[in-house]
């Protein structure tokens, strides 16, 4: 299983999903009306490293984080 966590203001509890890649995750998250508008502006990290491409094979136990727009300081 892959754990998905939603950081900062997204305000949604983590979920666990059975997926092999980010395209499958995209399809799952797009079907959630609460999340849909966050997807366009959120970056994605796998095991705490931000990724820039979808073409990454996921392994059981991986953690994916969605990071919405930031503003420190």
């Amino acid at each position: 299983m892959i754990k998905i966590e939603f950081l900062g203001p997204i305000g949604k509890d983590p979920i666990e999903v059975d997926i092999q890649n980010l395209t499958q995750l995209s399809d799952i998250l797009k079907s959630d009306k609460e999340l849909e508008h966050w997807l366009k502006s959120s970056a994605v990290a796998i095991n705490d490293t931000i990724v820039q491409q979808k073409n990454i094979e996921l392994k059981d136990g991986d953690k994916i984080s969605l990071l919405p727009p930031v503003c420190g300081g």
Binding site: K30, L39, I50, P69, C71, G72
Partner: protein, 147 residues
Amino acid sequence: MQYLELYNGSLPVEKITNNWYNDFKLSNYGAIITFVGVVRDENGIDGLSFDIYEPILNSWFDSWQQKAKKQNAIVLMAHSRGDVLNHTSSYISAICSPQRKVGLRLIDEFVEDFKASAPIWKYDLIDGKRVYAKDRSTAIQGAGLLS
């Protein structure tokens, strides 16, 4: 000492900046350049509030430390978690550098990248509620991968 410090609530500015000065004044850095961010009273807010995702903040900060090291400098940073009231500080950063010009350039680049990349989320405190500062926030490079 820790080069990256996180505090609950407002930052104890004098303590932090005095510690940095005392820790590094003997290290032969010719320039210690400090930036202190203070929460302004504007738009009817009582203050700001912050969430931080520490694992990615730590790796982002480490990459900046490496970048500074190549220029014989170091980066220091302190940031608040949770609520920070108006007229107090939520953010301090500093560059210690042998050369003033390198330090001034690095502090500018560091603060700009901090605003664009550090995984910290800001909320306005209005009537006891946290309101996400969406309009002042910046999407991290690569955002939209799942859209």
